[in-house]
Symmetry: C2
Subunit: 392 residues, 2 copies
């Protein structure tokens, strides 16, 4: 026996731009992006739009065409594809086929770009199709929801659902660029606006106390849809996610998932509610449950726990939704623990809190204590809902 050893590193780099009105012909960001990467190849760009976005922004297609008529370093493919928004786009493999067919018909090669404008679901679908066509076409993400601008759209993952399983097919494929345009957020309904905020609370609680205090001080502005406040929240949350990805394990080869704080129950909850509970709403409930559990094990003080629960209530999250209540050890939500472990593939690893801004990994959860935690949240909500922050 003998062997050869292969070893190399691949560097990945991209920018996340923050702007308003990306397709105003006077906005130089996209034009400069292509200018800064001169190429001898004929570069094309193919746009895919989330139908929810296209409907809410009826001039979008016209603006894109006008923009590329003026800025011609890349050649816009005149046909712009519109796909249904939300989870439906990831469930329908015919859409994946249509994207690959577009790559074929329009002759989009590895020097060309596919740009997706939409929520996290559409970005996941288009990112996957781009990643596997010709072993990887360059992909530009233009996220249009709070969640996708601060979390799902800025990272390295993509995927579609298959055989009834979420993200069954997918890859790790960093985008060429992410462009966050705050004007898209104006047309979100209140639930989608709020939903993405819970990922910011999540990452603040495990990584950044100052950011948590800032959110705590700004719940009213966030609920009132103040755009400057939201822009700060998105940017800080995005930065913390980026830092995490650039850390030890960008392509998640290990078993730990610290950014999945609050997510074991959230995933199960989304499923139990048949996805009528949004991801971010479920995460808010999951954070409430696991923070309370952290208190009950003695890791976190009750005063700190209550600050967390109050933030959730002041953001108008419904954290005592019947779907998350754990009445006994047979409660369906508890199956989420086993499913989360399966998903990790190794031993169970759950992040809890020892402080506002400090996570800690544990490898088991006690079902009895989880029932107690659930009751605590329910009781807290019924006695504290609606009280102003200063009361606590």
């Amino acid at each position: 026996m003998s062997y050869l050893e292969q070893s190399f590193s691949v560097k990945f780099e991209y920018k996340i731009y923050f702007t308003s009105s990306l397709f105003d012909t006077g906005n130089p960001i996209l034009a400069n992006f292509f200018k800064e990467k001169p190429s001898e190849a004929l570069r094309k760009i193919f746009f895919v739009l989330d139908k929810g976005v296209a409907d809410a922004h009826p001039n979008l297609v016209t603006s894109i065409r006008a923009y590329f008529a003026q800025h011609s370093d890349v050649q816009l493919i005149n046909d712009i594809m519109i796909v249904p928004g939300g989870e439906a786009s990831k469930n329908d493999t015919a859409l994946f086929d249509q994207l690959v067919e577009a790559v074929n018909v329009y002759g989009i090669d590895r020097h060309s770009y596919i740009a997706a404008i939409g929520g996290g679901a559409v970005l996941d679908l288009v990112g996957y199709a781009a990643a596997v066509s010709h072993r990887g076409i360059k992909h530009i993400r233009i996220p249009t929801t709070v969640l996708s601008q601060n979390d799902s759209g800025i990272g390295v993952k993509n995927g579609i659902n298959y055989k009834g399983k979420k993200n069954f097919l997918g890859t790790f494929a960093p985008p060429s660029a992410v462009l966050n345009d705050d004007q898209f957020l104006l047309t979100l309904n209140d639930r989608d606006w709020r939903s993405g905020i819970s990922e910011a609370v999540k990452v603040a609680l495990i990584k950044d106390p100052e950011f948590f205090y800032w959110i705590e001080a700004n719940t009213a502005q966030l609920v009132a849809r103040d755009m400057d406040t939201m822009n700060y929240l998105i940017k800080r949350c995005a930065q913390l996610h980026l830092n995490h990805i650039a850390g030890d394990d960008p392509f998640e080869t290990g078993s730990a998932r610290p950014l999945d704080f609050g997510h074991w129950s959230a995933h199960k909850l989304e499923q139990l509610s048949n996805f009528s509970v949004l991801h971010g709403e479920a995460v808010a409930m999951g954070i409430a449950l696991d923070s309370t559990y952290s208190f009950l094990t003695g890791m976190l003080t009750e005063e700190k726990l209550q600050r967390i629960l109050n933030v959730m209530l002041h953001l108008s999250f419904d954290i005592s939704n019947p779907f998350i209540q754990i009445n006994d050890t047979e409660s369906p939500i508890l199956r989420g623990l086993a499913e989360f472990q399966e998903h990790l593939g190794g031993k169970l690893t759950i992040t809890l809190l020892t402080d506002l801004g400090t996570g800690k990994e544990v490898h088991q959860m006690d079902h009895k204590l989880l029932i107690e935690a659930s009751n605590y949240v329910l009781n807290f909500t019924s006695t504290h809902a609606g009280l102003p922050l200063s009361d606590h």
Copy 2:
């Protein structure tokens, strides 16, 4: 406008083992591979076999089961899937679906392995299915042809054909390990045995003069199927390919493809012959053509060119096959140049030779000179075929 910058590197490492009789229960390689990576997860391994290999090695399935009965650090999934060998496996998307379905049914997660035993085509198919299932299941390659042991099976690419286009879907996904077992080579027919040798001539000619001289001195042993000689050839060729991949651009983001020396015409030839000409056979013809073209442009001496052509003849390659003859500027093979440029996506980049062991990139080829080159090869073959090496 403001932006955040993301930047990180991902390290990829794997070994290419050379052995005989991998599944002899006494062969420790595979068992040690799993032992050296202890894991708290329950690791499973799912095997996929090339039907051509399974037919030629009727005890293979039994040997695999016996091996894992004895070495139980990973759990063998008892069902072993057999897929058709050769290009058929990459053309049939139903096979891709069956592989993904197996991942689903057998609960193969990101801590588990899919192992493929077969020629380059089956490795490409299985590698692709593994790469996109759960965003990447660990993949072990056990190549069984000369070409796959010295070139296609040891690298980082996978893929399937789609919409009638070769490798239309695929990814860059380094394997966890490659295991080259020379006993598989015993059952190759003479064409498949010889075919992979041309990739060694190719890489020697552009990177390693000593290796070319060694091949030149060993054509008789190679044709006589001497295994020690073949083992040396495979290992040296593999090393040169590995070095190249680990160089500037492992995931091929640029336009240059030095390892595609001789390939622009080879790709077209395979297609024109309806794949009756094997890849390595086509590459031998492509090398003859582009070496001759190098001589005609004055880059390479005639003496060196003739050494190359003689090596091809002594390896019994048919380098004057009618499919590669270029009679006029309308000859179909010439369309291969435009298609190669399209494939690169940027400007045309062709590797020629300035010496035995030294490649040089050029960005155009003269059609008239290519006609001359084709005639030279034809004339050389008809006057030199069968002459012993010492004559030149």
